[in-house]
Each structure stands twice: as C-alpha cells, then as structure tokens.
C-alpha cells in the first residue's frame, strides 16, 4: 500500500475516533440533562461534612 493511502486511512480512522468521542459526550450530556429534569424535585441524599478537630473533640 502506498504511503499516501496509508496516511489517508489513518486520517479516516482518527476522524472516526474523534467523531465517536464527540457523539458519546453529546449523548451523555443530553441524558444527563433529561435525568436532571426528571429528578430536580427529589431531595438530594444526605451529606455530612468532615467535622472540625474542635467539634470532634467536643463530641468525644
């Protein structure tokens, strides 16, 4: 296979890879947005932040 053809094939493969990545992230973004719309009225799960040293000593 001539060098030019090999280069062209490589370029096509790179283009397919880039397009595949863009497609994946586009679909992910759309699905994330839809999920956010559906769950925005739901309460977020409880989250407790790391207690400070003083607070920790106070409890202990």
């Amino acid at each position: 296979m001539p060098l030019g053809e090999m280069g062209a094939l490589l370029l096509v493969l790179v283009a397919i890879c880039i397009f595949g990545n863009l497609w994946f992230h586009l679909i992910e973004a759309i699905l994330k947005w839809i999920k956010k719309q559906l769950t925005r009225h739901r309460e977020p799960p409880a989250w407790h932040t790391l207690p400070s040293d003083e607070e920790d000593r106070g409890n202990g």
């Binding site: 595949g20 497609w23 994946f24 790391l50 207690p51 920790d56 409890n59």
Partner: protein, 161 residues
C-alpha cells in the same frame, strides 16, 4: 542497593498521609454512626458497571463509589458509609446485621469482592485492597492489618456460605 533497584523500585507509601486519612475516616464514621468507636474500619469501594449503546458507539462505563466500612465482631454487624476520595464528607450509613441479611459471600469473579445481599433485590459488593495509589479515585490509606482482620471476620463469622 543497586542502581536498577533504585530506578525501578515500586511506589512507596506516604505513611503520614495514610495516617491522616485514617483519622479522617474515623472522624467521619464516628460523626454518623453511634458508638462508632466500637467498630474497626477499612476503606473499600464499589464498582457500578453499566453498558451503553449510543447507536454506533457502544461500550461500558464504570463508576467508583468510595466507602468507609466498619465492622463489629461482637454484634456481627457491618456498617457501610459512602464517602469521597478526599474524605471531605460522607453520606448516611447502611447497616448489615448478620441475623438480618439474606446472604454474604466473597466473590471470585470478576473481582475478589465482599458481597452482601440484605434482601433478594439489593446487594453491595465491597472491594478492598491493602493500598491503592490513585488518589483521584480512591482514599489514600495503607491498611494491611485491618484488611486481614476484616477478611478473617467476613470469611469466618459473617459469610453465610
């Protein structure tokens, strides 16, 4: 020590950082679990693997969930608290009492996970290692002794088969 062993020696554990994180794990655990000091702790994680098919692009995604795992031998209880790699906070604890669970066993495939089924519909697979280097994904803590103790407890006292 030769030149090659210096060049190719594996990663070394920063024990200061590990101990600081072990203290944070304890503080978080005790913050959300009553009588937290009655439990010994290890760090574990769960893997949520999902397959996707977006037309011509398909594959699988893995989400890692960090966990502080506490166990109490006297009560035959495991408590799991979700957290994040930097230990800035944690979620609500989940209790798994041996007398109440459906089954518990150690899986061999695809990973050596500690699997607990609280009922027929839910399960949790806890993966644990003595140390994991990737701080972006996992809590940086060295825990050989604690992991050995947890494995012994799980296999000999908690597992149902």
């Amino acid at each position: 020590m030769g030149l090659f062993s210096k060049l190719f020696k594996g990663p070394e554990i920063d024990m200061e950082k590990s101990q600081a994180n072990a203290k944070k794990m304890r503080a978080l655990f005790n913050h959300v679990v009553e009588d937290g000091d009655q439990y010994r702790l290890i760090f574990g994680y769960t893997e949520d693997v999902s397959r996707f098919n977006y037309g011509f692009v398909h594959g699988s995604k893995t989400k890692i969930g960090n966990l502080i795992v506490g166990w109490n031998e006297a009560n035959q209880t495991i408590v799991v608290v979700p957290t994040v790699p930097d230990l800035s906070g944690c979620g609500d604890p989940a209790w798994y009492r041996r007398s109440e669970i459906l089954k518990a066993y150690r899986s061999k495939y695809p990973t050596d996970a500690f699997v607990i089924y609280p009922n027929a519909k839910e399960y949790i697979g806890i993966n644990a290692y003595d140390w994991l280097d990737d701080e972006k994904l996992y809590v940086y803590v060295s825990q050989d002794e604690e992991l050995a103790a947890f494995t012994d407890f799980f296999m000999n006292q908690f597992a149902t088969k």
